[in-house]
Symmetry: C2
Subunit: 246 residues, 2 copies
Amino acid sequence: MDSSCIVKHFQHYAPLSVAEQELLDSLEKSPKEYSKNTLLWSQGDASEAFYSVKKGWAYSFRDMEDGTRQVLDVYVPGDIIGLRDFGFQKRVSGLKLLTNSVLCAFPKPRLTEVFAESLLLCNIFFMIASRDQAILIERLVNLGRRSAREKLAHFLVEMARRLEKTNIRVANHLHLPLTQTLLADALGLSVVHVNRTFHELKEEKLVDAPNSGIMLLDIEGLKKVARFDPSYLEEDLDGVLKQGDK
Amino acid sequence: MDSSCIVKHFQHYAPLSVAEQELLDSLEKSPKEYSKNTLLWSQGDASEAFYSVKKGWAYSFRDMEDGTRQVLDVYVPGDIIGLRDFGFQKRVSGLKLLTNSVLCAFPKPRLTEVFAESLLLCNIFFMIASRDQAILIERLVNLGRRSAREKLAHFLVEMARRLEKTNIRVANHLHLPLTQTLLADALGLSVVHVNRTFHELKEEKLVDAPNSGIMLLDIEGLKKVARFDPSYLEEDLDGVLKQGDK
DNA sequence: CGCCGCGTTGAAGAAAATCAAAGCACGTGG
DNA sequence: CCACGTGCTTTGATTTTCTTCAACGCGGCG
């Protein structure tokens, strides 16, 4: 484990000085293991810390009064969790682990310390917040204006695209540890309907359902179904920082 | 025009020093009038500036390939527009004016200058980004897991709540310059269905449709219909800044 | 073994979309 | 001043999409 996961993620945006790398590394000082299905926090809990995902998958969600729930976003290694709650005392959404995971917690005040210490990191964090928003926007469009078929395909392609950025993709096949129940809650559909729609895509050899999770067989094909436009995932820090760094 | 609109908005979060007020004021140096229906930018345009809303209403949206569109958010005086695009060269969404408006533009690099000059303002901006996200989250939940009736009521109550914060509300009646077409695009419904649902609420004396726009007659009643929980609009900066300011 | 979470399937029903047509207010130009 | 077009609303009839209910299979695990 040469450079930490978060450093790798940030270097994707801009070259970091040694000092900045050390500062970032300090955010990943206390990696901790959590097992599958751990509820890290619920909506309404005190929001005291952020987490970076070193290993594993997680998702944020909102529980509704009538027992249904809405999944808001799914997190993969390299992502930062909880930035959403920065301005709030209470968690806006719950967070649960999808797989066994390794996370690093850092307290909220630590973030404003980082802002003070490095303008570049401050900008990168702001950029990540902006990216998080772009993802939510796309999710919004997905829910509001696409058919079940497109919703499903679009969501899956997005996950694939996000994984490509930090992890290496294995050929054209990709395994995601998602359940159809989770997909339903993420896409605002019933499990039954997701199942049928998924079945459709399966018959077209675009996806498959192994023993557990979901297998993407033909990402290019899925892109076509979803009419996927990746521009909302193409951040650009240089445009932000005309000057040098720091 | 004592203190600028944006200062008023920010002071809602934390007391500002004179220097910080001046810094903020400098962001509203060039107020400019725009007329109703002006397209400020389209999705894909270069993202070079943010705007603060001094007067008027605006909305951001995404146009779809099939001619439909999704309205993402509606902006009222005091709001900051375009923060979403911070990390991107191109605009993630389009922006159009709903009414005649007065906006103040400030270039993107100016924001990172502000970050450098005032840690408090940096934190407040981050907080606003966090709040923007919370609003999107709620919109997401709205689209994914609520009925047309609830969607409509919830959206309207949210707008009322947001207006209360910066503007003074006139009794229990509130006029919004929204069209049913816009509501449809915001809620992921067809205009026809919004119309019928709206008609329902009208018969229950919760809303009314004057010559133009929409009139809220009974906000408390709408809250009940929407099962509205305002906590996602209750930011808290003190939790962020344990220490003094600056 | 027996339970539980997850996937699958069928049938019926509800919610919302679509299609089509018309009305109404407003602004524009003849 | 009136005719006309345009954008927004309204209403009815029909169709589609998705949900709900119900039941069953299946694999893992205490």
